[in-house]
């Protein structure tokens, strides 16, 4: 990917409630962007649109379809499916590295034959993360990837993201857990009142003597 990943004037309403008021963003290749915002700010709404899960919106997006891999906050697969069936689904529809996926599942001690209903919440999220991570795409969207994960899996996810951060891709992480990711973010943008703040360089924020959290608190209100 040589050009920036960009989206323009994304607007979305749920009935009379306008959630996004023409949101625009431009993320350079190689960036790891922290998408921050209070509960209900519209982070998931925006990611659903960027991640091909919601087609009912206005605006334009530079990369869509298979160029985008999306880890949703909730997996849409039936509870009775086995983990390996989820992998087979991904392999059927995406460019998917199933060998890497099986290896990562093994490292996380998740049996491929286990049914989704038998997995803990954290393990299910790990399955979602692995499916997203092993999909060959240009843009990776992660919605609250650390929720309900224990410290081992958190560390595993951080290491995997670090391992890939040098590639010419864009990773967008929507999260509340700023502390866990703040040193991984190259850029920060904040969703508030249906609008997105301009992309800020994380090191530039620190160079001004502010931590990411302080910057966020100042902008989120």
């Amino acid at each position: 990917m040589m050009e920036c990943y960009s989206f323009e004037k994304i607007a979305k309403n749920y009935g009379k409630k306008q959630v996004l008021w023409g949101v625009s963003g431009k993320f350079p290749p190689g960036s790891t962007v922290g998408l921050l915002g209070l509960n209900g700010a519209g982070k998931t709404t925006l990611l659903n649109i960027l991640g091909n899960c919601d087609r009912d919106f206005s605006g334009s997006i530079s990369l869509r379809g298979n160029a985008v891999a999306y880890m949703r906050s909730r997996q849409p697969f039936p509870e009775y499916w086995q983990v390996r069936e989820v992998l087979a689904f991904y392999r059927r529809f995406y460019k998917f590295d199933i060998f890497l996926a099986e290896q990562l599942l093994g490292e996380a001690n998740i049996p491929p034959r286990s049914r989704l209903s038998a997995l803990s919440d954290g393990m299910r999220r790990m399955v979602s993360f692995i499916c997203c991570y092993c999909t060959d795409a240009q843009v990776y969207l992660l919605d609250e990837p650390l929720t309900n994960l224990d410290i081992n899996l958190r560390a595993e996810i951080a290491d995997l993201l670090i391992g890939r951060a040098m590639e010419d891709k864009v990773t967008v992480i929507a999260t509340h857990e700023i502390k866990e990711f703040e040193n991984l973010f190259t850029h920060i943008c904040i969703l508030r009142g249906g609008g997105l703040s301009p992309l800020a360089d994380a090191e530039d924020i620190r160079a001004e003597g502010m931590s990411i959290e302080e910057y966020y608190r100042g902008k989120a209100k």
Binding site: G163, M166, N183, G209
Partner: protein, 126 residues
């Protein structure tokens, strides 16, 4: 590794590596950790580590040998000069703080001398 949240990460890592070079933990010609390894060890974005190595290269402390990695400069004379510059910078900082605190030059000198005596004496006992 713990980082202060309100200072650039790259400068904090650069400082750490500089100290290791000056103390001799990374002697002349040593190979520095690979970008990815250091990024995982510090839990930071590898792009930050790239910036660290860039800065240290510009200062002449390290050099890149084609594809085989980054190395501490083999120039011992340059290293000791850089070390002096670095320490002079720290001393300058102390001097400024002393002045701001309204301490006289003589008093500041006494304080510094006492601190030096403490530290070097402790070393001699060991």
């Amino acid at each position: 590794m713990y980082f202060k949240g309100n200072e650039t990460i790259y400068s904090q890592i650069a400082e750490k590596i500089k100290k290791k070079i000056f103390s001799g933990e990374y002697p002349c010609g040593t190979r520095l950790p690979a970008i990815r390894d250091l990024a995982v060890a510090c839990q930071v974005n590898p792009n930050t580590v790239v910036r660290v190595y860039q800065q240290l290269s510009e200062e002449g402390l390290i050099y890149t040998d084609g594809t085989s990695g980054k190395f501490v400069t083999p120039d011992a004379a340059l290293l000791s000069q850089k070390k002096r510059e670095y320490l002079r910078g720290r001393a300058l900082q102390f001097a400024r703080e002393a002045k701001e605190a309204g301490v006289s030059e003589g008093e500041a000198l006494t304080l510094a001398a006492a601190a030096l005596a403490d530290v070097f004496k402790a070393d001699n006992v060991l």
